[in-house]
Symmetry: C2
């Protein structure tokens, strides 16, 4: 049996719901979409168009025949017979709970996957008759291109539903990240929100403009973050002695008022041990020198990719090469 | 006259100093390096090797003849006759100030560019005889690949030194970002530090491992940040009505305890106006639809680049395609 659902329902046809639709039909899954807004089609069409352009350029193997899809007149019509029910309605608990009631009266066994970026699944499950099939599957815009989906179960979630979801998102070409601990906003949005709040302070205090802040990201740390996260990047910075050395060297800076986020964890020996051990496990036998070479090969590939699109760091590279070429000709 | 220095001195041969050395000699600049540690050469050699491998793969045009370089026995020997003096010694004010005294007694007119990631230039300038030629030029590891360098002047800095530095770093193939307001840790490290502090909390609280946190970055927001920053990404999310709409929609989340960074700026009408206006200026006439297509083209190019290196999001893509290929063959 394929990990893909035979039929999916999508409730809410905003940017996120439309992105899920694109990914699902591109994998041959039949979809039914419901949105109470009669103008919902106006969001869907351009998202499907963007997704098709992207997939045609990206995917090097024969793609599945596109799944059929249709707009339906009600939640009940959309979810009838669906193995996967994507909830992508506005971030209001009352709205989501009303939708779950409608789902439960019309569908008995599909996985209900909320796209919420903030509510814990256990909170969403309150008041449901069959909460065991509800999970959070939090994607990132554009859903048809970014692989990450955070999969989170609530107190009442059946572990089998998580297992099925992990296989399903993998089959859709995604990278499902199963978070074992429920917190508001999960992991990725916590990180993005911390950076965002600091960025708002920088604009608020007149230190930098939005463009300067964006440039500080996309010409620097953003290029690293496209391929290694913050821990692995810093592990490399620690050199032969790795993360433990980095933490010892830069730990003191945590006490300095860099960022407005001054409430920081104590770097106890226990926490340093935990981070060093997890970072070593993550390196999976690769030496710092190995990781440097992997990082550099990735950065070179990304810079070349952006040179081809003519954007950001790739535009800088192209300008540099143009000047080198002139200099050589002028010699 | 070329914007490049005829001769540069590099004080401190750690990972950052060695990275500067690689970038400078690769642009034909003659360099003299001083590090009090007699084992300094052991850091330089592998950095130069990595840099050469990266540049050979990255640069598509004839490269300049490599600049000669040598290790010297003193600061005075290194800085003699240098137009650019790169200070990359440890992050201790007393150490840096002692080095500046040595520079001032041996070199009268080279630009002194500190690689500090934290100290404001005005603080570094205290006690100097000729502070007008000191700037901060804060790079990012690996210096030979990442284009960003934050250029910051202090109270005593001559505007001509900033102007010369901006031309110099551009000539080195970098993206110099001139920050007009001095704050500790400048802009990029503020953002990185906010994300890092939040990440430490997530490990500290047992919510996620270092690998899970890194995956949440490199399969999601990190791919976006390699080509657009946080403001432009969110501007697209705001759709036709742009940043103003986004701020109205997601502004309330600032009051929620997502992240430990709960001290957030008030989203006054004035701040919303400022952000919306700056974001519009940054878009430079591009519609949200234009920006979506640029974003998607960049993401497709980055995903293909990572597919070629077999890493992160590219590994996910390759696995997906392998399964699609099997399915087609199995049909």
């Amino acid at each position: 049996m394929s990990a893909l659902p035979a039929k999916a329902a999508i409730l809410g046809a905003g940017v996120i719901g439309s992105g899920w639709l694109a990914r699902l039909i591109d994998n041959g899954v039949e979809c039914a979409v419901f949105d109470p807004d009669p103008g919902a089609g106006s969001t869907i069409a351009p998202v499907l168009e963007n997704a098709e352009r992207a997939a045609a350029e990206l995917i090097d193997v024969p793609r599945p025949r596109k799944g059929a899809w249709s707009l339906t007149g009600s939640v009940a019509d959309a979810v009838a017979g669906a193995d996967l029910i994507v909830e992508a309605v506005p971030e209001r608990l009352d709205v989501k709970r009303a939708v779950y009631r409608e789902i439960e009266s019309a569908n008995a066994d599909g996985i209900i996957a909320s796209s919420t970026s903030g509510f814990r699944p256990s909170v969403l499950q309150e008041g449901m008759s069959h909460p065991e099939r509800l999970i959070v599957a939090h994607p990132f815009n554009p859903v048809y291109l970014l692989p990450l989906v955070e999969v989170v179960g609530g107190k009442a979630t059946d572990p089998a539903a998580i297992e099925r979801a992990m296989a399903l998102y993998t089959a859709l070409g995604m990278k499902p990240l199963h978070l074992k601990v429920e917190i508001d906003a999960f992991v990725a949005d916590r990180l993005m929100e911390a950076l965002w709040r600091e960025a708002l302070w920088l604009v608020n205090d007149g230190v930098a403009t939005t463009e300067e802040i964006d440039d500080a990201i996309r010409y620097g740390c953003g290029l690293r973050w496209a391929q290694m996260g913050t821990f692995q990047t810093f592990q490399i910075a620690g050199g032969e002695r790795g993360m433990r050395h980095f933490m010892e060297q830069f730990g003191p800076a945590l006490a300095w008022p860099w960022t407005k986020l001054t409430d920081v964890p104590d770097l106890t020996p226990d926490l340093i041990d935990r981070i060093a051990e997890q970072s070593d496990a993550q390196a999976d036998g690769r030496t710092p020198r190995d990781l440097e070479r992997i990082r550099d090969a990735n950065l070179v590939a990304i810079l070349k990719a952006l040179r081809a699109t003519g954007w950001g760091a790739g535009e800088t590279l192209a300008g540099y090469e143009a000047r080198l070429r002139e200099t050589t000709i002028g010699d």
